[in-house]
């Protein structure tokens, strides 16, 4: 399985990147307090005084037995932090993908069906708007409009879906929109080209020749074929989501992975960054694998 060597490389990349960063986590933990004895004790406790390869081995050994280390800053096990934040990130990511699919696929269909017309450009611009605006800027502007000026939505925070779904949606809709926007463009592009490809195929020409109504052609025949690669793609954009989440969560104060990781990088909380990246990389690659399998299942031609 290709998963293992790739994971190995992921672990090496993220480990070396973290430990090569200038700055001493023990010093960061000490902050304004400067007691050499306390700092030295911290170093020893986290094996920071050992050489890099030795530290790497400690980490991998732990990871293989389910212990991803401990956050230096919070003294909480990394695994438990991840488990706490997983539902948050999954909720946000799912909402973002739903929004992305709605905007992206919708715009893609319009753009393909009404190619080269004004509708095409409008749909294009709408979807492209998402990746053309810095998400942190968009986020702040939305907060100002909808929270401060209009008072319709809470400015930040997070309410779990299970607790109160109305409040949860209210806190999630803006960050999910900001995140989903970015992916909408990619989905639009693929929907568009897939639709165009299908619309010009023999299959569709036959349907049209048979005299079927145009909208039936589009929705019942073309879309179903075009959508398959698009949906598998949606799942793969998980990686892009996490990148986008980094700044979005910071601004909307959503306690998910993105915020956890950024704070950890700046505080040199190695174990947290390494643990989170390892987990997300594994998830990403698993999704990739599932998507590949699904694609083959749906498209029997690829099996041979």
């Amino acid at each position: 399985m290709q998963l293992i060597p790739t994971l190995f490389f992921v672990s090496v990349i993220i480990f070396s990147l973290q430990h090569l960063l200038p700055g001493d986590p023990a010093l960061v933990m000490a902050g304004e307090e400067r007691d050499p004895a306390a700092i030295e004790q911290i170093r020893q406790h986290y094996h920071l005084d050992r050489s890099l390869p030795v530290q790497y081995v400690y980490w991998v050994k732990g990871a293989l037995s389910g212990d991803l280390g401990e956050s230096m800053r919070l003294k909480e096990p990394v695994l438990s932090l991840i488990v706490k934040k997983l539902p948050v990130t999954i909720t946000l990511a799912s909402m973002a993908i739903i929004i992305a699919l709605t905007i992206g696929v919708g715009a893609g269909i319009v753009s393909a069906v009404k190619k080269d017309s004004l509708w095409d450009y409008a749909a294009n611009a709408l979807a492209l708007w998402g990746i053309s605006t810095p998400n942190f800027w968009l986020g702040i502007m939305l907060i100002f409009l909808f929270s401060v000026k209009l008072g319709w939505l809470p400015a930040s925070g997070y309410v779990p879906l299970t607790e109160d779904w109305r409040a949860s949606l209210a806190t999630m809709i803006m960050p999910a929109f900001v995140l989903g926007n970015a992916i909408a463009a990619i989905l639009m592009r693929h929907t568009r080209s897939a639709m165009l490809h299908v619309l010009e195929s023999d299959y569709i020409r036959t349907a049209r020749a048979k005299g079927l109504l145009e909208h039936s052609v589009i929705f019942k025949h073309a879309l179903r074929n075009a959508l398959t690669p698009v949906i598998t793609l949606g799942a793969l954009e998980f990686g892009t989501l996490l990148s986008g989440a980094v700044l979005t969560e910071q601004i909307f104060a959503v306690p998910g992975f993105g915020k956890l990781i950024v704070d950890a990088v700046f505080n040199r909380d190695y174990a947290v960054v390494q643990g989170v990246v390892l987990v997300t990389a594994t998830a990403y690659m698993t999704l990739n694998l599932l998507a590949d399998m699904a694609y083959i299942l749906v498209n029997p031609r690829l099996r041979g």
């Binding site: 290709q2 060597p5 790739t6 994971l7 190995f8 490389f9 992921v10 990349i13 993220i14 990147l17 973290q18 090569l20 960063l21 200038p22 080269d116 450009y121 294009n124 611009a125 492209l128 708007w129 990746i131 053309s132 605006t133 810095p134 942190f136 800027w137 702040i140 502007m141 100002f144 401060v148 463009a185 592009r189 490809h197 010009e200 990686g239 892009t240 996490l242 990148s243 986008g244 980094v246 700044l247 990781i261 950024v262 990088v265 700046f266 960054v273 990246v277 997300t280 990389a281 990403y284 690659m285």
Partner: protein, 296 residues
């Protein structure tokens, strides 16, 4: 005699009506009006960046402490920022940093990614497997985290931000190049070239590379758009352009606190980023349509 003349004319006419691929691509590109307009916008920004000292109304670093956070007026068309500098001047000069960041990052990604992808796709075997796993690993890490870590490691500066973005964009080009190479290397003309006895390096450079250029060009354009946004994000986090030198991203960083009191500080650089990035995206999409062999 008449037949010879007729034939000659026929041949001449035929030659004229055979379109070169480049001409055909350009014709198709021109049909997408959005892409053409976008190209013009990009040209305007590039011109502004190059002619900055000539067209800028003020020195972008000049602080006027009595005119701090003033709204747009006849004196300052875009208003002033939090230490009294003219925003229009900083947007114009900021174009240099942001455009440069976009282009150089992608150049780095191309310079490293394409050769690696070429070798990987062409040679195959263990080298291909190795490079592919490393590329997969890089793609599996969230892009921004890698970029942040790299930029922090190298030290905060515009140059290092460009390197960080370039390095994190490289895997995309490796994968793209490799994929394209694998498709092209089984084409007839490549087989023919090998049969004739061309050495591998010549086949790679002369036969394979030119045929994958269109796909690379499209991706490069789209990556420039992404790189400009990435520079804005890194500068927003303090890892990019160092003060007082302007870049659109660092201007947004400073503007954050003043969205209510001085919104012009955020609106103009935000708009500049938006227009530039949107234009690059439109051009990229237009190129893709124009170069797509399936379109008529």
């Amino acid at each position: 005699m008449a037949e010879a003349a007729l034939t000659a004319t026929a041949v001449a006419n035929a030659a004229e009506s055979i379109e070169t691929p480049t001409a055909r691509a350009m014709r198709r590109f021109k049909r997408r009006r959005g892409a053409v307009f976008a190209l013009v916008v990009i040209a305007v920004f590039v011109a502004a960046a190059m002619l900055a000292p000539l067209i800028s109304p003020y020195d972008p670093d000049l602080q006027t402490w009595s005119a701090v956070r003033k709204a747009p007026s006849a004196l300052h068309w875009f208003g002033t920022d939090d230490v009294g500098r003219d925003v229009l001047a900083r947007v114009i000069f900021g174009a240099r940093a942001s455009l440069l960041a976009g282009v150089i990052s992608v150049a780095i990604a191309l310079l490293v990614g394409v050769p690696v992808g070429l070798v990987s796709g062409y040679v195959g075997g263990f080298i291909d497997a190795l490079f592919s796993r490393i590329t997969d690993a890089l793609l599996a890490c969230p892009f921004l985290i890698l970029a942040i870590a790299l930029a922090a490691f190298l030290g905060p500066s515009l140059g290092n931000a460009m390197i960080a973005i370039g390095v994190t964009t490289t895997p995309i080009f490796i994968r793209l190049t490799r994929g394209q190479v694998m498709v092209v290397k089984v084409e007839d003309y490549v087989e023919a070239a090998r049969a004739v006895g061309n050495p591998h390096w010549r086949i790679a450079l002369v036969h394979v590379l030119p045929n994958i250029l269109p796909a690379l060009l499209v991706q490069a354009t789209l990556s420039i758009a992404a790189a400009i946004i990435a520079e804005a994000a890194l500068s927003f986090l303090g890892l990019g352009q160092q003060p007082p030198a302007p870049s659109w991203g660092s201007m947004l960083n400073a503007a954050q606190r003043f969205l209510v009191n001085a919104p012009w500080m955020a609106i103009w650089p935000g708009l500049a980023i938006f227009l530039t990035v949107l234009s690059f995206n439109l051009v990229g999409d237009g190129l893709r349509d124009a170069l797509d062999p399936r379109s008529r």
